[in-house]
């Protein structure tokens, strides 16, 4: 009877704080959706959504270079991945600052002449004055490859000179240079011809878009623990001891507090599901898993992943028991969210990580939760993840009870 009353009081206390938390969380969500909308809209306006755009500035008046630029834009296989734009320097710099370009290739005066004389005046690949991003790292690697293609061809040209001289050909070498240059241009432009590509299709596998939906959901769930700090932070254990003396032991206290927190967590994510369901009815963002989805399927997904939500909620509960004080508790929640979220693949697909990290992530609560969500979104069996989630939930709750017992005993001393 007392326990039921405590549960009722817990729910009443939680519900008193919940509306303001929910309103602020919804503002958060709307801001995220709006930001995502702005980004996606900006991207959608570009026809070549996946292409990297590189500016080309400087002296391209040389007929060879002009031909090279033409080939890059119209004949080369890279035209499907990188868009080279011939621009004025100021315009290119402004576009780079506006992040409309990944980088700028600045061709120095008489570039081709210097290359053909074997006296390389290097071109500059210019990136933004900012921390590196994926784009800059990838394009830098590609420029290195391009650089090695050119230097290998130059070596061959030089060698051809020596062979020509050895065979007594000292005049009219320009003709041979032109011929060999055209041969190399042909080999480079036809490089895709050496690959026999077979696409085996996407089997039992979540698309990148679907993957990121699960990642964002997991990260939101992890940060949700910070939003609920007022509900979960304990200033002291005086009330807990009083409750203990009235027969509501720490196990029951933790369980009822957890139940209250779990109910509002699930309720909040159901609200998210409704909003998301309405949004994706108009636009599925090209994500395979969202095609044909509606509000009900989003609600169904959240209901399916309740065990994973329950596991993360229990982990957050344990962390709040572990850290005392507002700053400590929030800091611990955030560090846990960032570290576990990062390792488990909320920010980058987990296949990017070293194998040891992938294996570690697969046994972490966030990794199990993400796998649960990924399998739920692709309608695969989640039995293994369900069992692990339940085991984790029990472990976290048991740890919370032990920590509370310990802290209550510490308070008495």
């Amino acid at each position: 009877m007392k326990k039921n009353k405590y549960l009722f009081l817990q729910l009443k206390r939680t519900m008193k704080i919940y509306p303001s938390v929910l309103v602020i969380t919804l503002i958060t969500l709307c801001s995220i959706v709006l930001t995502a909308g702005v980004i996606l809209n900006k991207e959608a306006q570009r026809e070549d959504k996946q292409k990297m755009r590189v500016g080309l500035v400087g002296d391209v008046s040389d007929s060879y270079l002009g031909l090279g630029v033409y080939a890059l834009k119209n004949m080369d296989s890279s035209r499907f991945t990188i868009d080279f734009l011939k621009l004025e320097e100021q315009e290119a710099r402004q576009m780079l600052k506006d992040r409309e370009l990944t980088g700028i290739v600045q061709v120095p005066d008489n570039f081709i002449e210097s290359v053909s004389h074997g006296d390389n005046v290097p071109a500059d690949y210019i990136t933004l004055n900012a921390p590196e991003s994926f784009g800059t790292v990838v394009t830098a690697e590609i420029t290195q490859t391009v650089s090695s293609l050119i230097t290998c061809s130059q070596n061959a040209m030089d060698c051809m000179f020596s062979v020509a001289k050895m065979s007594g050909e000292n005049k009219g070498l320009r003709k041979y240079i032109d011929e060999l240059t055209l041969l190399y241009a042909d080999r480079i432009l036809n490089r895709e011809a050496v690959f026999n590509i077979t696409n085996v299709g996407v089997l039992d596998y979540v698309s990148v878009g679907g993957y990121y939906i699960c990642g964002i959901l997991m990260f939101l769930l992890l940060l949700w623990g910070i939003s609920c700090n007022k509900i979960l932070i304990k200033k002291n254990y005086g009330m807990s001891k009083v409750l203990c003396s009235r027969g509501i032991k720490s196990g029951s206290q933790i369980f009822f507090e957890y139940l209250g927190y779990l109910i509002i967590t699930v309720a909040t994510f159901l609200v998210f599901a409704i909003i998301f369901g309405v949004v994706i009815q108009n636009d599925d963002f090209g994500i395979a898993e969202l095609q044909g989805a509606d509000v009900f399927s989003c609600i169904g997904f959240i209901i399916k992943v309740i065990p994973a939500v329950a596991m993360i909620a229990a982990m957050q509960m344990m962390l709040y028991e572990l850290a005392t004080g507002t700053v400590n508790a929030i800091l611990l929640q955030f560090l846990t969210a960032v570290v576990l979220g990062y390792i488990s693949g909320c920010f980058y697909p987990n296949t990017f990580f070293p194998e040891v990290m992938q294996k570690t992530a697969s046994v972490l609560p966030t990794g199990v939760g993400l796998a649960f969500m990924r399998k739920a979104i692709t309608s695969n069996s989640v039995t293994k993840e369900l069992i692990i989630s339940l085991v984790y939930t029990v472990i976290f709750l048991a740890a919370s009870v032990l920590i509370r017992e310990y802290k209550m005993a510490g308070d008495e001393k």
Binding site: N129, E132, E141, S162, A164, T198, G325
Partner: protein, 385 residues
């Protein structure tokens, strides 16, 4: 002078309160201690694309050399060598790898035939789940790894067609001549905008967000301290102070958490090996601390309850993750980007202009906090009147 003394006194008192809790010290120490572990794990084989490699003829020298070149080069592509074609194909189907490249037996002859224009038949089998931009770019690397053979075979073909014969100039001699002419440096230098200095980009893409995420730890600590202060105010701990003078304890509270977390982050940056010029690091970090404290002071004035600020913290965190150059470098919602201290801090390390902007930002944010504190004090006085 007295005002500064008072601010420092508040700072000292709030620092003492924070450090009284051992868990705070433990959590702060965890930040730099985590970094070496993370660094050693991240230095292991990782990649944004994973490719399975298999050579049909394990004794083929050319295939072995291409595989060696690919696997030994530092790259955003990760390679795994497989013993059978079936295993490589299965790894693609199971999504363990993104693609498989199968090198045929006698690849040298096939490269030669391609280079001499005798065969247009593809000879490298590529198995993929689906075609993506990353995989197309990865193939550029593969072609790059084969190109020295292609370049030589083209040269051989042309030399024998135009100038000489294999008896006059044996292939081995020609090959030696080609190897000996390897004299050219890179033809492309990488530089940053507004700088003539050649740079080497950080290829460990997994480490790219570390600095940004660490900078958010400082913001989070400072905002949590703002919550502390709001809760103290609600508990009446500063009732003895005139509302106009409450900016001093708010400053002390936020700065105490900010300095403590900054020291931990500073140590973490050092251990992570992403410490740039020390003078620049100290200057940027000092300004960032001032900016983060100012930002939190504004929040202290805007939020009436600690619970509401606590609920809004994830909002601020997500906005900062998306709009500051941590994972992405986007130019969207620029007015909001310019409201966020990490935006200035992260760019200030690469661009002098942002040091100046951060000074302006600090001045602006403190003036705003002061004006807001006066407005709040006036509105409270009117309410009590």
């Amino acid at each position: 002078m007295r005002k500064i003394k008072r601010l420092l006194m508040w700072y000292y008192m709030f620092s003492k309160r924070l450090f009284k809790r051992y868990s705070f010290i433990v959590i702060l120490l965890t930040i730099p201690l985590m970094i070496p572990v993370a660094k050693s794990v991240m230095s292991e084989d990782s990649g944004m694309v994973t490719v399975a490699l298999f050579a049909e003829d394990s004794n083929d020298e050319t295939a072995a050399r291409i595989i060696k070149n690919l696997t030994e080069e530092e790259s955003v592509i990760r390679y795994r060598v497989f013993d059978t074609e079936e295993a490589a194909a299965l790894a693609v189907k199971k999504a363990d790898v993104d693609a498989a490249w199968i090198f045929p037996g006698g690849i040298r002859e096939k490269i030669e035939a391609f280079a001499q224009g005798q065969s247009k038949k593809p000879f490298i089998d590529v198995i993929e789940q689906e075609e993506t931009v990353s995989l197309k770019l990865a193939r550029e690397k593969l072609y790059g790894a084969m190109y020295s053979y292609i370049a030589f075979d083209t040269l051989k073909y042309y030399s024998y067609m135009r100038f000489t014969t294999p008896t006059q100039l044996p292939e081995r001699t020609l090959e030696q001549m080609y190897i000996n002419t390897d004299k050219y440096d890179d033809i492309i230098n990488i530089k940053r905008l507004d700088s003539d200095e050649e740079i080497t980009l950080n290829r460990n893409f997994l480490a790219i967000p570390i600095r940004g995420l660490l900078s958010l730890v400082i913001m989070l600590c400072t905002m949590s301290a703002a919550m502390y202060y709001i809760r103290d105010c609600a508990d009446g701990k500063f009732d003895w102070l005139s509302p106009k003078k409450r900016l001093a304890p708010a400053f002390g509270s936020c700065l105490a958490a900010c300095v403590a977390s900054s020291l931990a982050v500073f140590a973490a940056l050092f251990f992570a090996g992403i410490f740039e010029n020390p003078g620049r690091e100290i200057l940027s970090m000092t300004l960032y601390m001032i900016a983060a404290t100012g930002f939190s002071l504004v929040l202290c004035e805007l939020f009436s309850s600690a619970g509401k600020l606590g609920a809004a913290i994830p909002f601020f965190m997500i906005v900062m993750i998306v709009l500051c150059p941590i994972f992405f470098n986007l130019n969207i919602l620029s007015p909001i980007q310019h409201m966020l201290p990490p935006y200035y801090y992260l760019l200030s390390l690469y661009n002098d202009k942002y040091i100046i902007y951060m000074i302006y930002y600090c001045a602006g944010v403190y003036v705003l906090a002061y004006i807001l504190s006066l407005l709040m004090a006036n509105s409270k006085r009117r309410m009590t009147d």
